[in-house]
Symmetry: C2
Subunit: 364 residues, 2 copies
Amino acid sequence: MTPHVNPKRPNSPLWTMEAIARKAGVSIKTVSRVVNREPGVSEGTRSRVARIIEEVGYHPHMGARSLRGAAHDCIGVTITAPIPLVPLQEDFFVRLFSNLYRIFGERGQYICFDLNPYHPDGTGDYARGLFEGRFAACILCGPLSPGDTTVKRIHRSGRPYLVFGRLDSMPECSSATVDVESAMRISVAHLLERGHTRIGVLRGFHGYQPGEERLRGYRRALEDAGIEPKENLIQNVTFDAQVLSAAVHRLLINRSVTALVDASGAEDAASIREGCRRAGRIPGQDVEIVDWTYTDGAAPLNDACAHVWLPVWQAAFDGLEELARWFDGEREGPVQVLYPPVLRQNLPQATEAPPRRLFGLAGT
Amino acid sequence: MTPHVNPKRPNSPLWTMEAIARKAGVSIKTVSRVVNREPGVSEGTRSRVARIIEEVGYHPHMGARSLRGAAHDCIGVTITAPIPLVPLQEDFFVRLFSNLYRIFGERGQYICFDLNPYHPDGTGDYARGLFEGRFAACILCGPLSPGDTTVKRIHRSGRPYLVFGRLDSMPECSSATVDVESAMRISVAHLLERGHTRIGVLRGFHGYQPGEERLRGYRRALEDAGIEPKENLIQNVTFDAQVLSAAVHRLLINRSVTALVDASGAEDAASIREGCRRAGRIPGQDVEIVDWTYTDGAAPLNDACAHVWLPVWQAAFDGLEELARWFDGEREGPVQVLYPPVLRQNLPQATEAPPRRLFGLAGT
DNA sequence: CTGTTAGCGCTTTCAG
DNA sequence: CTGAAAGCGCTAACAG
């Protein structure tokens, strides 16, 4: 029943077309026709071959098939930067997954994650799944480095892809994101209007494109107001609670700094508050804060004077729909979804939930 | 620079070993040696070839490689039943994913989901990812059907796999789960001790193995007490809120039924409560309820007289660790993790959170 | 309607 | 140290 298994090749297929063909007394090509529902096989032969396939649980070897360059059925998700720099919120991830299932999974396509393409020996390449012939399309999560060349290679390959972010050097990049520069401009402009001149900034994604966009927005806002940008008021931060509160402390210990933009992207109110406390400052009283949020109507920090909503999720899910249409040939690539940020004042007080990071949970 | 691209094969590799070999003026085998870090190449040749590989962004084609039966690096997760029958809670899924990342992803392995292997034409097979040569190991989520033969094929293939559940007809099955039969026995026994004789049951997973285990546990408990099992007191339910409350209503409208075991697996307190209300009954007063939970110390239904904790998550994550060891050859398969359920009384009152299902979120 | 042949990109085996 | 040749399982192209 079970054909010969070669101990030297533990992962070799249990059944091949050739074995099925022999069992059915037909040629390999006939089996191929049955498997691929091609015409040119009599009903009798077809059902006989189909029954054997069903019986033994034969499946065609996708490696061999893909070697012929046929269409794949695997959607890849990859991470463009080391995990600690990618603040995957649980909520976002769950929604991403749910949408991927609805758009691709329901038709039987595989959804494949390449979470850590960075080999210790430095041979990492976040697009490897695409170039290894595994992914038919690719979704890039996380910030791009300004000097990134990988996404250009992806672009040139012609395969459908989508980046949740942009790249200055590559306006043609297939992307779905929010205008971060504008978010910073309206944040700073709002504080300028309220009379502040020395405005501290918590700037996330240093060394990556979204960090650049934050910097440009800050400069533009001050230039527009005729003020010389003071870049010592910019603190580069990560998503680490210690780093965040230390940065807030460093900025606010200087009492001439009367306002703060939380553009960390961390949505971590507790750490901001802790930094204020250490500096002896009280949000809403002796320091005004504009904080950024990814959820409309949700205020990570209740005492902020305004919130800037970055609809990154909405952009991402719209982008996925377009990516699917590109994949299906219903439109051409690249995808270009860009949402404006929205400044909101007077949000209702809310419970300040701590951020829940996907990869902080391991072992629980 | 870019080699010839055949328009008839849009997914063909952009670079092959042959192209790299030609560019470097060496043979294919030498390139292969460099790619696979095999000895037998001079340092000069190696670095020259490596530089070209780096430059053009060459990656070996995994289809071609797997054709030779080499080890794969892709861990598959598949669903053993149609999605509506698999009550994937968001929390569970997030933890599953996080653990998969920690165990497999951090070493650079791919994690690939086959969420909907059920083709409309009936050719579905939840193990396809394994037999197509995509997965090196496979994790099976969801209940198995008593007549399942697919898992036997997986078992015979010798590849590492893990089922979050068991199969009566296959005690050797690699599994990590909780003793559901025992959960039902202690649930019913507890209510018998409290003087109830007509005990209603909400039984989930009808037609699947965990449904069978529930039934057996119910029969055993009554037999042990010398009571004739009355199977008309068993209501088969799904995870649908309407179905749940209707079943509760149907059971409790008969006032001779004084107790209820919520073995739906839905953790949906609101629907149970709604069913009681419709039947004019008050939990804790004129009906005693034992409800099942997947989280220790969390009481889905506050007015229950007892809770049975099924540590399915803990079993699952322990099982994953063992699966990884099997995968690495540090132990032999199959994995056998079986946790006992625990009956808890007097849990503190908690906020009754509604269940959040992973695939109920699509589009948001 | 059915079968034969060549070759996809890679690794294994064997020769230099 | 390096390379040539065979063949993995499948599909495209071409014969019967």
